[in-house]
């Protein structure tokens, strides 16, 4: 809340269905193919062509609905949304209007303030349009229809979010659930998941304000920045005595501002009506139940299990399960090892490397086996925690496994008392004044001695043994 202003956010997520073929045709959905290489007669809307529903996409939508704790509608209807555009070959998009395949549901998001439930209004299936390429020719726009007809799920939230952080957490959670279900790959850079965000502001206690819709946000950062900008813009308008117009806006990633795309008056009249080429979609109870019974473990359940099984903190568990691949990485490493140690290393060292390299955990240079091996060496005392971090860095750079790095560089920890004693004696011999000072009460100098011995051992001396020996010799 900013100065008594209340922020209300509702989000439409457009998630591309994970399916090898399109919603109403057999064309491939592969990303990045050459333009117009994945276009059937149906996708190009040739005369007399008819759509036939892809059962797999329906199954994916139902699966997603179940994952969003939502009601599955046994009868849904495909409608035509009519408008003209060069990348919309039929002159209408087949979508679901009054009778979507999935009804109301909810998801829980986790934030500093605790858990919050966000309502889902509906999920419906629709076709994607093609892509207009405006930069290929000075005079003409080119059209690539590879995307035309690909299945999308539009997931509409209730206006239950009140901050940019909550909005991002919501989209993140939706993406996480869809990835767990394997119903959407969630790649925002490739456009597999994008969000339209509705923002309005009102004074606490007042009626809801007029909302603006910001279209096509394709990163968490942009969602957050766009909402922040839009909130300030609307507050400024109202505070200066103006009103907020209901309109559709675009977020400009270069200026960080939102600008008007079209006003309510210019809004299309889509002339929705039931598509006469398609029969109502009717689902059998048994078919739905079969899908329900095969839903994999979802992030919330997995988090609960991790807390119980591995005694992880709420925070650690949340961080690890929010990404399916991370949770799988964790579970592969944790087998037979200390859960907390594994959690610290995965969310600490590993995440920081992944962030730095800007790669996903699937592309981690350190495999689960290598990570396990490294942690085993810490556990047995062969290497210190500090040394382990150096070795980890080395692993990331070279891709070598920890044991061979330890061996090559002779990094195994020295735990033999006799050997350490020799080093301690040498250090003491070279620093008689400091021994004097120490014995006269400057006990902080213990750290100096530890450091010197460590230096001499090239960091390999077992710290516990070293401490014990040093103290014994200094203190008599």
């Amino acid at each position: 809340m900013i100065d008594g202003w209340n922020l209300v956010i509702g989000i439409e997520v457009h998630a591309q269905v994970n399916s090898s073929s399109k919603l109403f045709s057999a064309s491939s959905t592969k990303f990045g193919s050459s333009p117009n290489s994945q276009v059937s007669l149906i996708d190009a809307a040739m005369p007399g062509m008819l759509p036939v529903i892809n059962d797999y996409c329906v199954k994916q939508a139902v699966k997603s609905g179940i994952g969003l704790n939502a009601k599955i509608n046994k009868k849904s209807i495909f409608d035509r949304k009519n408008y003209f555009y060069q990348d919309l070959p039929q002159g209408y998009q087949i979508s679901q209007y009054k009778n979507p395949i999935v009804g109301e549901g909810y998801i829980d998001i986790e934030s500093k303030e605790g858990s919050k439930r966000i309502g889902i209004e509906r999920l419906h299936l629709e076709q994607d349009a093609g892509k207009s390429l405006h930069d290929q020719d000075p005079k003409y726009t080119f059209v690539d229809l590879n995307r035309s007809g690909i299945a999308l799920m539009e997931i509409v939230s209730k206006p239950d979010m009140n901050s940019p952080e909550e909005a991002v957490d919501y989209v993140r959670k939706v993406r996480s659930i869809l990835r767990y279900l394997d119903t959407c790959d969630g790649n925002m850079e490739q456009g597999s998941l994008r969000a339209d965000v509705n923002v309005s502001v009102n004074k606490a206690g007042d009626e809801l304000g007029t909302r603006c819709e910001i279209k096509n946000l394709n990163s968490f950062k942009h969602i957050s920045l766009a909402i922040t900008y839009e909130t300030k813009r609307q507050i400024k308008l109202i505070e200066s005595g103006k009103i907020v117009d209901q309109e559709t806006r675009l977020y400009d990633i270069n200026t960080g501002e939102t600008r008007s795309m079209r006003s309510k008056e210019d809004a299309h009249d889509y002339r929705y009506f039931p598509d006469p080429d398609l029969l109502p979609l009717v689902l059998e109870d048994q078919w739905i139940e079969e899908i329900r019974n095969n839903i994999p473990e979802l992030p919330d359940q997995k988090k609960e299990r991790f807390i119980k099984e591995y005694s992880l903190s709420n925070y650690d568990a949340e961080v690890i399960v929010s990404d399916k691949a991370t949770s799988e990485y964790y579970e592969a490493v944790v087998k037979g090892r200390t859960p907390k140690l594994v959690a610290t290393w995965v969310t600490g060292e590993l995440f920081s490397v992944l962030n730095k390299k800007n790669i996903s955990i699937q592309d981690s240079p350190v495999s689960t086996d290598m990570m396990g091996e490294l942690l085993d060496n810490i556990k047995t005392g062969k290497i210190s925690n500090r040394l382990a971090k150096d070795i980890f860095e080395d692993m990331c750079e070279t891709g070598k496994n920890p044991n061979s790095i330890i061996e090559e560089k002779g990094l195994a920890q020295i735990s033999d008392e006799g050997e350490i004693e020799k080093l301690v004696d040498e250090v003491l011999k070279n620093n008689p004044e400091n021994i004097e000072k120490y014995r006269n009460g400057k006990i902080k100098l213990l750290g100096f001695f530890v450091g010197e011995v460590m230096k001499l051992s090239k960091g390999k001396a077992n710290p516990a043994t070293l401490n014990k020996l040093l103290k014994k010799k200094l203190d008599y």
């Binding site: 809307a45 040739m46 005369p47 007399g48 008819l50 003209f84 060069q86 006469p276 080429d277 398609l278």
Partner: protein, 491 residues
């Protein structure tokens, strides 16, 4: 030798080797050439047809026929997409369009060995009941009023299909029927026209007009031929979601003209003072004929009949306005340049569509607009349900319903009413059938005092085409309609 040749006779002659497929095809091509004034064909497939006939004759020699109808030529309404053959829907906007694919219906014909003589003229995008909306000019009815030289409309939209059969330019033809487009021209030309149950015949590859009403069907010289052609073109198609799962039926083999004990309904709402007395008389005569052949006549009511036409003229344009959005100049068909996208759309569609098509796109866009949807489209859908109920109730009492096919016989091309609504009245007896999704057939019953054919319509319940054909066969056998038009067009 091929005068009044039909599918059954052609099959017989070919089987006895009294004539070859090439001979039949060449003769028809010759007639088509001589009958150019009728303007039946948008495109004649001379070369292909002869080639196909040679291949068929070869198959006959090798005893590898595709079916017993292999080698018989038919005409195809220019609404069916045909691979490598220009398919225009009689519109300027598609006048250069050559599909790379074959419609399911015409593929089924090809699979049976039927040969296409070419593409038949029709109303633009099948919108019209006079054939005057065609970009390629009107088809002329082979029939003329006795003592008059005035050219008559063949009906529409399958006007070319009906006229070509009536003028004996092919054995039979394919048409489509959205609100009467097979039955009305059949009635105007003295031919047999059958509109199958919705879903009986695949719509895949047929240029769409109104998807929930469109249905392809045969126009033939006899009921036997209608049975044969329906059998060939029908069947489930996985590419059409609205295609019925009903199995193919052997209509011809199972034809049984006995109507003893059948109940035939006569709906009172089809009676009208405006009905020409000769049409009324034909209807009464047919009723008596069926009665004397052993059927029981039942007077019944279809209370919502008169609401069908307005409902139809909301639903059909609504669907059409959306179905025709794809003709935008972007990917295929006509493109008229503009300085930006909107201008290109406007120029292309202004230039590419004729007046009637534009009118229906406007009406359809209007009735679907927000604020009008409930008052028009939704209400029309409710009326449609009531009409279906009417027929359901009727068919709980009767086997079939007998009505006139059209409220008038063929009229002069020059006398077409300027008021489109007057024109729409041509469909008043045929549209209820499309709205209900049930099958109906128009058969020639007699000629009126001016020697113009009068057609009667038989209607049955969904997927009762066999019963429909049986009753039609009974009437045909009894009346022995043998009228043919004078060949005034042969030069």
């Amino acid at each position: 030798m091929i005068d009044k040749l039909n599918i059954v006779k052609a099959a017989e002659l070919l089987k006895k080797k009294e004539v070859s497929s090439v001979q039949i095809v060449k003769e028809y091509l010759n007639r088509i050439n001589k009958g150019k004034d009728l303007n039946c064909f948008n495109e004649v497939s001379s070369t292909n047809a002869v080639k196909d006939a040679e291949a068929s004759d070869e198959r006959r020699k090798n005893d590898s026929l595709k079916s017993e109808y292999d080698g018989i030529p038919i005409g195809i309404k220019d609404l069916f997409c045909t691979k490598g053959v220009t398919t225009t829907a009689s519109s300027k906007i598609l006048s250069n369009f050559v599909p790379s694919y074959e419609s399911t219906v015409t593929q089924n014909c090809e699979d049976a060995g039927l040969i296409s003589l070419g593409k038949l003229n029709c109303d633009e995008f099948a919108m019209g009941s006079t054939n005057k909306t065609s970009f390629f000019g009107p088809v002329k009815n082979p029939w003329k009023s006795r003592g008059s030289n005035a050219e008559l409309v063949p009906g529409g939209s399958s006007g070319g299909s009906a006229a070509a059969v009536a003028a004996d330019l092919c054995t039979a033809s394919l048409g489509t029927d959205t609100g009467g487009s097979i039955r009305q021209p059949a009635s105007f030309t003295g031919t047999v026209g059958l509109k199958p149950s919705y879903g009986r015949v695949s719509r895949w590859g047929i240029v769409a007009f109104a998807s929930s009403l469109d249905q392809a069907g045969p126009i033939t010289k006899t009921v036997d031929d209608a049975a044969i052609l329906l059998e060939i073109i029908s069947g489930h198609d996985k590419n059409d979601s609205t295609s019925s799962i009903h199995n193919k039926e052997e209509y011809f083999k199972n034809l049984n003209s006995n109507v003893k004990g059948m109940k035939i309904g006569i709906p009172k709402e089809f009676r009208s003072d405006n009905l020409p007395s000769s049409t009324q008389k034909a209807w009464d005569d047919c009723r008596n004929l069926l009665k004397s052949n052993g059927a029981e006549i039942v007077d019944l009511s279809l209370p919502y009949t008169m609401d069908a036409l307005p409902a139809y003229y909301i639903i059909a344009p609504a669907e059409a306005s959306s179905n025709l959005a794809r003709y935008d100049g972007v990917r295929y068909g006509l493109r008229e340049q503009g300085s930006n996208l909107i201008e290109m759309y406007e120029n292309t569609r202004s230039e590419g569509f004729g007046d009637e098509v534009k009118r229906r796109i406007l009406v359809g866009t209007y009735v679907l607009s927000s604020g009008y949807y409930d008052a028009y489209y939704l209400k029309a859908q409710k009326v449609r349900s009531l009409i279906k109920n009417d027929f359901n109730n009727a068919f709980s009492k009767v086997d079939a319903i007998l009505t006139p096919s059209t409220p008038s016989v063929a009229f002069e091309i020059a006398n077409e009413p300027n008021d489109p609504v007057q024109n729409y009245l041509n469909d008043v007896f045929t549209v209820p059938v499309n709205l209900a999704g049930i099958p109906a057939i128009s058969i020639p019953f007699t000629n009126d005092e001016n020697n113009l054919p009068i057609g009667l319509q038989i209607i049955t319940n969904s997927f009762e085409e066999q019963k429909l054909l049986n009753i039609a066969k009974n009437i045909e056998e009894t009346i022995q309609y043998k009228e043919v038009p004078e060949k005034w067009w042969v030069k």
